[in-house]
Symmetry: none
Subunit: 196 residues, 4 copies
Amino acid sequence: MVQKAATREDRRTELVLAAYRQIAKHGFEGLRTRDVAAEVGVNIATLHYYFPTKEKLIEGVVEHAMGRFRTTLEARGGSADILGAYLRGVRRLLAEEPELGAVMGELALRSSRDPALGRIVQDMNETWHRTVRGLLRRAAKEGSISRDLDADPVAAIIVAVLASLSLPRASVRNSQAIHQLERWLAGDSGRDHSSN
Amino acid sequence: MVQKAATREDRRTELVLAAYRQIAKHGFEGLRTRDVAAEVGVNIATLHYYFPTKEKLIEGVVEHAMGRFRTTLEARGGSADILGAYLRGVRRLLAEEPELGAVMGELALRSSRDPALGRIVQDMNETWHRTVRGLLRRAAKEGSISRDLDADPVAAIIVAVLASLSLPRASVRNSQAIHQLERWLAGDSGRDHSSN
Amino acid sequence: MVQKAATREDRRTELVLAAYRQIAKHGFEGLRTRDVAAEVGVNIATLHYYFPTKEKLIEGVVEHAMGRFRTTLEARGGSADILGAYLRGVRRLLAEEPELGAVMGELALRSSRDPALGRIVQDMNETWHRTVRGLLRRAAKEGSISRDLDADPVAAIIVAVLASLSLPRASVRNSQAIHQLERWLAGDSGRDHSSN
Amino acid sequence: MVQKAATREDRRTELVLAAYRQIAKHGFEGLRTRDVAAEVGVNIATLHYYFPTKEKLIEGVVEHAMGRFRTTLEARGGSADILGAYLRGVRRLLAEEPELGAVMGELALRSSRDPALGRIVQDMNETWHRTVRGLLRRAAKEGSISRDLDADPVAAIIVAVLASLSLPRASVRNSQAIHQLERWLAGDSGRDHSSN
DNA sequence: AATGAATGAGAGTTCATTCAT
DNA sequence: AATGAATGAACTCTCATTCAT
């Protein structure tokens, strides 16, 4: 009852994706190697053929999640409103692939207990911060946002708001927060526009 | 009789506090009833005498964490800068009792898998939002912040930033984010003050 | 379906004895914690309640086997033919409790791979050698064996022959070997007495 | 064709030798087919191509070990001190190839659980006994040892001592035992020569 | 009110073996 | 002749829970 062999990388990826989904659904708390194997449709021993330990499988998930995040968080394109596009990009990503937010949340929490993961998450955060800061400076130069803002603290607040999107909250509130961010970035000091 | 009842409550509280600390340290992933009992110095069966199931113990932790959070998040005092005092209060709370942030993060993630907890967390979020919105309106009336801001989105962004504090990040970034928040609230549209 | 509780030491002993028998029957190769638990009639988790790991259980078996051996190998009594009594004692012990020979064999082999066990087995061997040497000297003084034998090498050969009893061999051969030993000890240089 | 068949045998032999070494090092307890295959540098499936089951591989090891033993234990040469040469031969063999002693020990223990192996080991023991007995008689005839010793019991004791060499013990004790054996064979009834 | 002893269910991991290629 | 991929069965160990005392 040996099933059709798949190529090495395919199977590895399948397993990582299944684990990724399981973590999104049940958290690390509810991650079971047997369920991961079952979702892919292979025997539990097959999982261990590719990943000698559960921890190695999790490393695979971390890599995957980080990669998924990084590619989206890189600033692409050169539109005038590149910063706005960026914010909307992150929002869309987290809306379209809710697993990503959930897994990132799990990773963030775990990072305080797992030094190796801690370094990865911190690197990711700093990269993220620098990317946003770069976008801010570019937007300021191009005049699409207030010319003389203090890039570091503003980047910090943007990253904070974006990070908070991975915590489950009413999505109305998320929309409102992003809108207000854009308004402030546009140089508006907070007057009521009656939009929510 | 009264003495006995009080003792009973004490022991329950001890257990809840131990569980609270364990969750902060090891996450739900690493929560073991035996460790909780051991931390209090009682037998595992004694724990089950007070909390028939692990889930009931967790409910106790949820109650405790929520209570801890609520009391601090209630707007107290009547100072002129009540909003600023509030922001500083939350920051101080999370700095002084880092367990609270960790546990809130764990609860937030778990809330998407546990409907009962989901309702509690959502209620908490809405209460939080309304509290901040109320403070904003009061501050606006008193003139300590820009009079004509749009309370709902601004409250949303404040809560988002405060919530993000429970995710582990470089604390410099947290400081920067809070500073920028205060600057924007003061009506400043983002010019560089060279502070970080 | 919780079974009647036994006192702590009883249960530990029961488990050690069961493991001892299992090792005698199936070797370390075939030692299964589940079988040990089953033989005692308890759940596998109960075994782990008393012995956190399989290795700790084995340590218990080592202690038991060594104790069993030591008590028999101590020279007791003060008869004239104390040495002969001793040889017959060891033979009887290994005949009456064949598990002991089997387990000692297993331990001897394992001792070359397990440093801790190695020390124990070596100590046991040296103790054994010294005991026999002491008996030889006493017997020589009393005149029951040749007065001027070289105690160390003779003790070495006796221990070697006794040790070989734990290896499975035709028991006739064992009897012959012991007889010849006694003959030589009596000062006989090897003439045919037609006994076997 | 002939070449091919030879290659096939080579590979079988390689695998048997690797298994032999593994058993010597880790005992049957620690024998893993994967490690055997790895030591030879072939895939685990290749091992099963040559030996359909682990048990068949072990049979190969038994054959090899027995062969190794038998060739050395056959009495060769015609020197005057053929018996002494023999004793020294066995000692040298076990000293030069310590794996052989370890494996023989493992086989001896296993023989009490495995009837087929049991017969082999018993045959080996009897052959051994008869060989030694033959040597004794020849030596007696030639006058190199006491003429009227009882060959069977003396052979039994010699085989017992030689067999005990495969159990791990302090090598001083082994030397002493062999010396004493030679002394007794020479007709000495046990007086102290102060040699060890 | 508290505990030591016990357990069922299930966790991650291992291993000899199989099979398509 | 040789292999990578896959598996069933079994392994040790864990954990929330129960129960008699």
